[in-house]
Symmetry: C2
Subunit: 191 residues, 2 copies
């Protein structure tokens, strides 16, 4: 079956067609329009999302009202306000579609049911979060060891596919740059 989550599951853990078709019943397909919020800041974070097509991002707003992009999820990756979902508390973040997106949504009760009924999913999510946290450590390294001027070019050189998929103003925010600063850097680079 041509399902991105099936493909990832079979590459991460040992399972079979019967179990895969049981696992997929815990999810619901959902379409999200470009710039549509799927979770509002301060709302109850009652779901996790697996991106099949498009791009979601997690954001927050600082005291001056500026939006800050905290995390992206492109195809084949997960997004949620992880602690709010885990603890069933109000979200510290919003989640929005950067592009028209297709996602698989899993609610909190379904997530608990999935883990209880399919222990192989403990292994799967252990690996998902291991990679997510390992990548976060690499991102701190990236942010802490490059100057503001360098960071955009280094990111561009290292992750060209990713850079091409996400709007530039969101990428600037993800690198903790203002849109104005990004615009200056890009003007310099092309002059």
């Amino acid at each position: 079956m041509d399902c991105p989550l099936y493909k990832q599951l079979t590459s991460f853990v040992k399972t079979d067609q019967k179990e895969l078709s049981e696992i997929i019943r815990f999810f619901e397909k959902r379409s999200i329009g470009k710039k549509e919020d799927i979770l509002e800041m301060g709302g109850k974070c009652d779901a996790m999302y697996f991106v099949e097509k498009g791009c979601l991002y997690l954001y927050t707003v600082d005291d001056a009202g500026n939006e800050k992009t905290i995390q992206f999820a492109i195809e084949n990756w997960w997004l949620s306000d992880v602690l709010a979902f885990r603890n069933q508390t109000r979200s510290q973040f919003g989640i929005r579609a950067a592009l028209k997106s297709e996602v698989l949504e899993i609610s909190y009760p379904s997530y608990q049911g999935l883990l209880a009924n399919h222990p192989v999913m403990e292994e799967y999510f252990r690996k998902v979060y291991e990679i997510a946290f390992g990548a976060a450590l690499m991102r701190f390294k990236f942010l802490f060891t490059h100057s503001k001027e360098d960071i955009y070019h280094h990111f561009n050189d290292n992750f060209p596919d990713f850079v091409n998929r996400v709007p530039q103003y969101l990428l600037a925010s993800y690198l903790n740059l203002t849109p104005e600063y990004l615009s200056q850097i890009r003007k310099k680079a092309t002059s």
Copy 2:
């Protein structure tokens, strides 16, 4: 038994005394001196560490030779170069003891054996990494929504116990501040 890892395991997952005593055999106790490296940058990352006493930190070095603190682990938490451990590649980080420390070390083959023989450890590490990644998202939020001036005070106010346990020059680096900048802020605060 008075073992910090036992306590955490029984609070995170359902297990029993017999299994706990089997699980603990996969670990080795190790003492590390203050400022001693337990992993060198560029070395093979062949272990994960659970801190029983003291404090470890993960660091890297920028092009100008400045050390940057990427992550701390105080009592009851884990530390490793997660991606290098997972992929058995050379480490992007070093790991050093901020204070004289007692740790439980688990090697890569033992980690694999532990997970294969005790499926409950998949659930345990899924939860450990869920919390670690969720906390990393909160740290990005913290870094992106506070000015350099505010960040130290906010951190101090929110995590006083943590601030009291780690050397100030490492904390400055963890907040992406230079030691000189931290010193200026603290002088202002006390003047």
